[in-house]
């Protein structure tokens, strides 16, 4: 190599500065054709809360198409229920939406009770309602914290885990299980509440209400949080309903529909003073806001229930071997993540013939291909976070 000097300094090489500037301009103005890029998020990715895999086709930073690949947590519930007796099924369905286990049991037990024509005693109904609301708080609290994490705020996540422990302690105190209580029996509950539980519960609800104020102070008014969530991931009300999006996700789009108030009467909800919160915007921020208000509302509901808690037995008279008469029954409830329902078909045996499990997250996530079209990659994370799904609830 003899010529070490760059070509621009070789003799005869004149630089036309004006032409260069023009060229540079052209480079900027011409859309760079980069070709589409396929980005694989998951199946193990922090933003997907577990094992959701998202195959995203990108043009630069913009999502052209997104295809969620689910099934990494598919455990075959609907088949397994056909091989279990009714009391055994409740053990299993605890684990569908593992954050709100108690709330999962309720609709199934209701379906069995309705088919058998028995009704749980009043006290059992009230305690069931309290525990359902507690599991709702435990579930949504994690969301309230994690949503901060999605936009880069670490503190709320720790708060979420911290205050959630108070609720888990209550659930553990009453049922013996932090996560999977399996406390419902067909016809009532396994046990009554322990001594001192009601006072503990009141104290914990006060903490929850304070905690909600903290979240509101730190996140809701926060400029970064608003910038990242407002106007992002808007679900139109009609489309959301047609996709089967339910729960707070649908209420955040302005649809005033809550099965606790509007569905077939169940538990103690008809006797309570309930406010259903909605938001008109339908974006990620609205979903966060609605859930925050709902957590408060749940805590208030628990306080109301504790005031009115009736005395009496917690278990109705049921035969020792549970055989459910022939028939079919659809029971739906408002779970923390949305509408959860069981279509139970019985043929008079000790186990169900077919159980169709309608889980909320499955439908909530099915809107993702539509919702993610055209957003930027960082927004994918906040949208996924704000839809709030549990993988077990998607895959069953």
């Amino acid at each position: 190599m003899t010529t070490t000097q760059p070509p621009s300094q070789m003799p005869g090489f004149e630089v036309d500065r004006a032409a260069l500037a023009h060229l540079a301009d052209a480079q900027v103005n011409v859309e760079l054709d980069t070709g589409d890029m396929i980005l694989n998020m998951g199946p193990q990715h922090p933003a997907t809360h577990g094992t959701l895999r998202l195959v995203v086709r990108l043009d630069g930073e913009r999502v052209i198409a997104a295809d969620p690949v689910i099934g990494y947590m598919h455990r075959g519930y609907e088949k397994l229920t056909e091989f279990r007796t009714y009391p055994q099924v409740t053990t299993l369905i605890n684990r569908i939406d593992w954050l709100s286990s108690f709330a999962n049991e309720v609709p199934f037990v209701h379906a069995a009770e309705r088919l058998m024509g028995i009704e749980a005693p009043d006290r059992a109904r009230y305690v069931r309602t309290i525990l359902t609301e507690l599991s709702r708080i435990a579930t949504i609290y994690l969301f309230l914290g994690e949503m901060g994490l999605q936009v880069g705020a670490l503190t709320p996540a720790f708060w979420g885990f911290r205050d959630r422990e108070h609720v888990l302690n209550l659930i553990e105190g009453a049922t013996g299980g932090r996560f999977h209580p399996n406390f419902n029996r067909i016809g009532g509950l396994k046990d009554d509440l322990p001594w001192g539980w009601v006072a503990d519960c009141r104290a914990a609800m006060d903490r929850i209400l304070t905690g909600c104020d903290d979240f509101e102070k730190v996140l809701v008014g926060n400029e970064i949080f608003e910038a990242r969530t407002r106007g992002v991931g808007i679900i139109p009300a009609e489309l959301g309903a047609a996709y089967g999006v339910s729960g707070a996700n649908l209420r955040a789009s302005g649809i005033d529909w809550d099965l606790r108030r509007d569905g077939q009467p169940y538990l103690a909800y008809p006797e309570l003073d309930i406010k259903v919160w909605t938001h008109a915007d339908g974006d990620s921020f609205a979903r966060y806001w609605v859930r925050l208000q709902e957590t408060r509302e749940s805590a208030r509901m628990v306080l109301q229930l504790l005031e009115r808690l009736p005395s009496g037995p917690v278990m109705a008279k049921v035969p020792r071997i549970i055989k459910v008469p022939e028939g079919e029954c659809w029971v739906e409830t408002e779970n923390p993540l949305g509408q959860m329902g069981y279509y139970v078909v019985s043929k008079g045996a000790t186990g169900p013939f077919r159980v169709k499990i309608r889980s909320a997250s499955f439908s909530n996530v099915s809107i993702l291909p539509w919702l993610l079209r055209g957003v930027y990659v960082p927004d994918v994370v906040t949208i996924l976070g704000s839809l709030y799904f549990i993988l077990g609830d998607i895959d069953r």
Binding site: G71, W257, G263, F353, S363
Partner: protein
């Protein structure tokens, strides 16, 4: 009421309707009856039968009325919310008849084929539940599927959310939905063989070893000495 409807096969339908409604009070819920009347008017012959299952309307429609039923529910009955689309296999599961080995622990189901509310014609049915967010009612719509050639029209054009539900149903039962944009595996890995929710799909783990709970059978307190049934 089923006896008022000019149904095409009154004899078969009436028999199944009697079985299905034996458990519930004879007088149907007024809302349910009203909704059923709307289906009768809208679908005419397409409506095969209907029943009141614990305050929820269950209608069974003919296969060519499956998609019109969805349109009717969405347009006329304000059922804007799609809850689920699923399949059911009415065939009794294969049972090893009390012999040793095989699956002995799962609950014993009746061995003859019976059908649920609003009846059925063959082994497979597709059923869906739609609800109204404004009027707070819901309808379960059923359709019979031929066993030899299991296909029904897709609902994706009416309810976009039916997409994943139909994929699931296709995977679990092998029922094809005509007009669905892409029927591919949803839950199971690509190479999976068989349709798990069909009653003739065995759970091999149960065949290989008995239920672990059978190892420690204890007499139940308060029961007879043998430990109950």
């Amino acid at each position: 009421m089923p006896d008022e409807t000019p149904t095409t096969e009154p004899s078969a339908d009436d028999a199944s309707a009697v079985v299905a409604t034996a458990e519930v009070p004879p007088e149907p819920d007024p809302v349910v009856a009203q909704l059923a009347a709307r289906f009768e008017v809208g679908l005419g012959d397409g409506l095969r039968d209907w029943a009141d299952a614990f305050g929820h309307l269950v209608v069974r429609v003919r296969r060519d009325a499956w998609r019109p039923a969805a349109e009717l529910a969405k347009r006329d009955l304000a059922c804007d919310f799609l809850s689920f689309v699923a399949g059911i296999d009415w065939r009794p599961a294969d049972k090893s008849e009390g012999d040793e080995g095989g699956d002995t622990s799962s609950p014993v189901q009746p061995t003859e084929m019976t059908f649920g509310a609003a009846g059925a014609e063959g082994r497979f049915q597709v059923f869906a539940h739609v609800e109204s967010t404004s009027r707070h009612w819901g309808v379960t719509i059923k359709v019979d599927v031929e066993e030899a050639n299991p296909r029904v029209p897709s609902w994706v054009g009416v309810y976009p959310g039916a997409d994943w539900h139909e994929r699931e149903c296709w995977e679990m039962f092998g029922i094809t939905f005509d007009g669905h944009p892409s029927l591919r595996h949803l839950y199971l890995p690509g190479g999976f063989e068989g349709h798990p929710l069909r009653k003739d799909f065995p759970l091999l783990a149960r065949e290989v070893k008995p239920w672990p709970g059978l190892v420690d059978v204890e007499p139940m307190p308060g029961g007879d000495e043998e430990g109950g049934e």
